[in-house]
Amino acid sequence: MTLLAEKPAVESPKPVGGGLLDPQQLWRSLPSAVRKLDPRVMWRNPVMFIVEIGAVFTTVLSIADPSVFAWIITVWLWLTVVFANLAEAVAEGRGKAQAAALRAAKQDTVAYLKDGREIPATQLTLGDVVVVEAGQVIPGDGDVIEGIASVDESAITGESAPVIRESGGDRSAVTGGTKVLSDRIVVKITQRPGESFVDRMIALVEGANRQKTPNEIALNILLAALTIIFLLSVVTLQPLAIFSKAFNAAAPDTVALDGNGVTGIVLVSLIVCLIPTTIGALLSAIGIAGMDRLVQRNVLAMSGRAVEAAGDVNTLLLDKTGTITLGNRQAAEFVPVDGVTAATLADAAQLSSLADETPEGRSVVVLAKNQFGLREREPGLMPEATFVPFTAQTRMSGVDLGGRQIRKGAASAVMKWVRQNGGHPTEEVGEIVDAISGSGGTPLVVAGLDPGQPARALGVIHLKDVVKAGMRARFDEMRRMGIRTVMITGDNPRTAKAIADEAGVDDFLAEATPEDKLAYIKKEQDGGRLVAMTGDGTNDAPALAQADVGVAMNTGTSAAKEAGNMVDLDSDPTKLIEIVEIGKQLLITRGALTTFSISNDIAKYFAIIPAMFAAVYPGLDTLNVMRLHSPGSAILSAVIFNALVIMALIPLALRGVRYRPSSASALLRRNLWIYGLGGVIVPFLGIKLIDLLVQFIPGI
């Protein structure tokens, strides 16, 4: 379905961004932008509200005293407001399309209650128990309390491969709107009507109940203060202008200044040019687009606050398995004891593992094939072979080939078997086992018994966790961004340390219980740090709730999903890193455009002040460094530039400022050069260029 972009590759840290602006999209958003001119909507954005009031005011003035200059200014002031609304409308429009797709998925579903009644899904309430058969759509969010089924969740995740949902454990959560493909499950509903996952998702992508985030509020305060200052600075100019004009009686009236002071049109123009309209216009679009970028990555943030917090994270808690390492341990090496060749050991190990379908068992077979060219033998082709399966009691597995027996398993179990079969375990095996354990690996001892001979240990298979490719570089990058990475694992400290060292994380939490995780998070927070983590199990819920950014896996329990403030539909724990980057990008975009907006004022002063007052004090024409054509063209050019720059920056606001992980100083330097210095220079060029065109308008 269209909502979901392709799943980003886990290993390649692709820079966050994407999403080009389609001119058609602008056109489609225009009606919505015009509807937003309603003052009841506009006042939520104080900066643009002032512009709108100004536009109304100049409209009245233009009607009362029409002139080409007045009307063109008026039109461009209105356009300024419309452009700002357009930015927001376009950002919202993208979400709307996604919401529509989601709604389509939420068809009229019938719920079959366990007691036999049939009710529309919309009437389900908390605690209802429903039965879902193969081919039916699950009517609401809930937990499987009975049965097991394969479920197609593509409507939510975009992933077409079915997933298994079963009662109990961490795979019990099902989502309304997904489809049972096989079998039958009984589901206990855990949602209130209208608050289902899909409902919330729709609300989120539509930006319906978008709350301003803390940073956005703080920035809005700054913008409001700047607006007030510039408003004051312009309004209080009037008595001074009247005084100056009266003093210099020789000065002729101009479009900008007459005996009553600065004309209303020009006064409004000056205010609009000075107040931070650029950032004011784009601020909400930036926020919506930031959430949108998360959605494109299949992450649902339950609040904008969480996205912002992601940018602030100081500590990332990452589960070892699946995030830092590939899912399971793998055979890495065959270590034979004295008198046994590695090939012999490999052969024995492979034989013993042929029937072992666990990933570890497969990895032994594969390693033997890769290192010694031992071809895999089909168990079925060896009729004499009897495979001994692994049991919790014996803690080993193996194969009996006629009289020959091979066993592999935990050191203590295998050594016991050797002794029972008349063998004498050598010291050497113990040393090898200890060395492997010490390095964080898992030793599997292989022993053999040839007919008539005592059993003997052949050697040890070294199993180890394999750290995913590129993780180390990723963590180095994190460190440069000032983020500590902490690996969470159930392994013993020695094993954990070895893997931590190999992966390059800053810290690890070994033999971690849910309580340990919670304590660790609290400790970090007490030190003033913000913590992000991922989790899926019910026992992760307290830690997810405590963390500042808690990303629940979609495969997880509903308790986990409730506790976190984001849900990753792909259930990809690595995505936390991308979430952090998106959070940062959101803040950077706001900061960069604020800087740009403020820097722009310098050029505007140099355009408008001489235009207003050079007629009274000709010396002030020295300030007209752009050599603009006339007072009228100068003011008009500044107003037009001010409006056009909003349009020009909409794509940037939606896409976000390019972000590459690096240190704060490097980021600041880069963004300051581009948006600070650029913000100073660009308007000088822009206004001059516009002036070159505008001066040909008759009446200017």
Binding site: P214, L232, P239, L270, N314, F613, A664, R669
Partner: protein
């Protein structure tokens, strides 16, 4: 060349004292042991010196002390004829007394009166000069409270105002002022209780040589960045500034505390480099402004300076142009407002610089304490914008700059421009600009200067304007009062908000606030956000005059 050497030696001297004097003040404000005098004061005042105050209590203490001071000083001036050493002067009129009381308590020292013809010696030394000390101490105390907010680990406490007031007065202001008094007396400043000496000049005319406890008042006038002169002519008066070297010392005293306080800041937050960054911002702005002022004055543009051949009107022979311009820059870069030459007769652009210095918010280095807290507010605003650009919730010294902090900081930097602009516009709208001596853009400058000076608690003036009318006394009094105490309350509220926060540890992702880049950024924000606000008004005043 001599003029540049004058500036360079001042810079070197300030560099030399930055560490030792800053460290000394650090020990004073962080020390816990009281000496005999201080214990006596605490007992008489009835405070427990070890009781910590939250921001609210601290602010109420500052306000209570200032309110009592205004009332006391007002009564003092109104009753001066009933007290000793009145020299036969009448009680100060009610509107001048109000204006003067607010003016001295707010560390402005705007003078709507002429000292030698209005104030008796007792009113000067026991009324006005006392406020020279304590208003300076209040400023430093508030700055220290703000620093404590940054340095706090979450306790929410800001120290004790009464202790800060006492310790700063007794251990910093009084000893340095005493030393300066002695030096000034050696330089020729008068220090007596005489009503004056009548002499007959060589050509037989009568001349009344005035007396008074001038040296002791001068010392604190400059050290406390107060600026209220004993005489109308202020530091241009030979009794207030007799020699070229007392002139150097006066400028040094003006800049001493404001330029050393960043050291206290650095020490208290545990990172001296943060202090260096703040002092670098101050120095960059101050040196640039001083150089421009000297340059404009030496260039001597304008019809009258061109006719004269030099911008010597209103300047003393012994000081000459560069040293006068340096004083003008120093006095307005701080909240001093003393003058050794009359800014009204400066060249148009040379006279604009003192105005611009004040419009920057008097942060480079600003008044005693007020300069530091003003600059820290600007740093907070800079951190906010720059912090966003590095992709984190902005934090300064480990304290997050959130909505509440921005609300307080933004309100702070709204207040002064609002007072200046509204005041100036009101004067023009109501025709009160007619008391300006000069016409046209220069008259506009006089009005603009008056409100800029009052709102920023500077006290210097384009003195051509007549301001001892009821309207002016009231309006400027309000500007001084609001321009001083609203910011103080906001600063203390910010301090309280910061003090309640835990400290976020620094990391690679933290915006570095000690590097040249950040210094440049604060300078940029100060110039663009603060000074440019006034560009339209300046364009109709000094710029119009200077570019004609």
């Amino acid at each position: 060349m001599a003029g540049w050497l004058f500036v360079i030696t001042l810079v070197l001297a300030l560099v030399a004292v930055y560490r030792p004097f800053g460290d000394y003040m650090y020990r004073v404000v962080t020390g816990t042991r009281s000496n005999v005098v201080e214990r006596g004061v605490y007992r008489l005042v009835g405070v427990n010196p070890s009781a910590e105050q939250t921001w609210g209590v601290y602010a109420r203490s500052v306000l209570a002390f200032s309110a009592v001071s205004i009332l006391f000083l007002y009564a003092f001036l109104r009753l001066q004829d009933k007290l000793w050493l009145s020299l036969g002067f009448d009680p100060v009129t009610s509107h001048v007394a109000w204006n003067t009381a607010v003016s001295f308590v707010s560390n402005t020292n705007w003078q709507a009166y002429s000292g030698e013809s209005t104030m008796g010696h007792l009113a000067q030394m026991a009324g006005l000069a006392v406020q020279n000390f304590v208003s300076a101490a209040v400023g430093i105390a508030v700055a220290v409270a703000l620093i404590r907010g940054f340095a706090s680990r979450g306790s929410g406490e800001l120290g004790n105002f009464w202790v800060d007031l006492t310790r700063i007065t007794v251990r910093v202001l009084l000893p340095v002022a005493a030393l300066a008094t002695l030096i000034f007396m050696v330089g020729g400043m008068v220090q007596n209780l005489s009503g004056g000496t009548d002499v007959t000049t060589l050509t037989g005319a009568a001349q009344h040589i005035t007396g008074g406890p001038v040296a002791s008042q001068e010392a604190i006038k400059l050290l406390g960045t107060n600026g209220g002169g004993f005489y109308n002519a202020n530091s241009a008066h030979p009794f207030e500034n007799p020699t070229t070297w007392t002139n150097w010392i006066q400028i040094f005293l003006i800049l001493l505390i404001p330029f050393s306080l960043p050291r206290v800041f650095g020490r208290m937050v545990g990172q001296n480099r943060q202090g260096y960054a703040i002092v670098a911002v101050m120095a960059v702005l101050a040196i640039a402004s001083t150089a421009l002022t000297i340059g404009f004055e030496l260039h001597g543009a304008g019809t009258v300076p061109q006719a004269v051949g030099a911008a010597m009107e209103g300047k003393e022979t012994r000081f000459g142009i560069p040293d006068s311009a340096t004083f003008a820059a120093a006095t307005t870069l701080t909240s001093t407002g003393a003058v050794n030459s009359f800014h009204d007769s400066y060249t148009a652009l040379g006279g604009m610089m003192p105005m611009v210095n004040m419009m920057l918010g008097e942060v480079a280095p600003g008044g005693t304490g007020s300069g530091l807290y003003g600059l820290l507010i600007l740093a907070v605003i800079t951190v906010f914008v720059a912090g966003l650009m590095v992709g984190r919730t902005p934090e300064y010294l480990g304290k997050k700059i959130g909505a509440r902090e921005m609300k307080l900081a933004s309100s702070y930097f709204l207040i002064t421009p609002a007072l200046v602009l509204i005041g100036t516009a009101a004067a023009f709208a109501n025709g009160h600009n007619s008391t300006a001596l000069n016409v046209g853009p220069h008259g506009l400058s006089e009005v603009l200067y008056a409100f800029t000076s009052a709102s920023n608690n500077n006290g210097s003036a384009f003195a051509g304007i007549t301001v001892n009318t009821p309207w002016w006394d009231t309006a400027l009094g309000l500007a001084m009062l609001l321009g001083r105490f609203l910011p103080i309350v906001l600063v203390l509220a910010l301090a309280g908000s910061l003090a309640r926060q835990k400290v976020t540890p620094e990391s690679e992702g933290t915006l570095p606030t000690h590097q040249p880049l950040f210094v440049g950024l604060v300078v940029g924000v100060t110039v663009v956000l603060v000074a440019l606000t006034f560009l339209p008004a300046l364009a109709l005043g000094p710029i119009a005059e200077g570019l004609s």
